[in-house]
Subunit: 127 residues, 2 copies
Amino acid sequence: MSEVNGFSIKQTSEQTGLSDDTIRYYEKIGLLPRAERKANGHRVYRSEDINSMNIILCLKKTGMSLDDMKPYLHLSYGDDLTEFPELYRMLQDHKKNIENQIVELQIIVDFINIKLNRKNVNDSKIH
Amino acid sequence: MSEVNGFSIKQTSEQTGLSDDTIRYYEKIGLLPRAERKANGHRVYRSEDINSMNIILCLKKTGMSLDDMKPYLHLSYGDDLTEFPELYRMLQDHKKNIENQIVELQIIVDFINIKLNRKNVNDSKIH
DNA sequence: ACTTGACTTGGAGTAAGCTCCAAGTTGTAC
DNA sequence: GTACAACTTGGAGCTTACTCCAAGTCAAGT
């Protein structure tokens, strides 16, 4: 169970909250690189892989599709983002989107608060 | 084009940003009530309907499924939310979820800022 | 030797949310 | 009266993101 030997798919699933089927699916669609296999064919994961999965989970929460994540995940460790101006711009745009999402969500929270206090629904516009 | 005669599906589509197919689909699945028809069978929409669609769009942004929206949209104007304790609780829960979403998104924005400044990706955990 | 459990594979199935299509009707413009 | 645009309907098809399945392999335990 120590990291020197890597983690099984089940351990990885437990650590990330992704199901083992989902992890295999991410490999199948090329979102995760083909995992190393042990002699018996079983997948082995290391902390970098788990790190990648956490990044996937984070980007997913912001509404990014699995397909759009691929370019980010395919960058390797030391890569300088400024060498990929399109990616850099996409990430900036994505940040803007998230900031807008936050503003909109805040508006919706205010709206719900009004509903919860006025105790009815369907009677006002948000915009 | 004035509201007295209501809006066509196309006008409604333009006002809400939902495609006409999507509006018909929402009617088909019972998310929107069956729209009034003109003598020729064409759908007519009024500002309450457009209001409902805006509410749908807002709830959608917070990740609520179309199915979960139904009970809220089926409440009528004057209905007192406290008469529907389950709905009231669901709405409170939903607000909590959105507030959590906001916190998480803020963390991701911070993370992206680090990436944009450090100019590389894939090298740190968020949690 | 045999069972059990954790895995492997390719591929099928599922759910949500649209999106598109064909065939038909209606109303206006020329 | 004929072309055209804007609708109608039911139903098929599509995309995303899983989720499940059958059949097989392999290692460890009894």
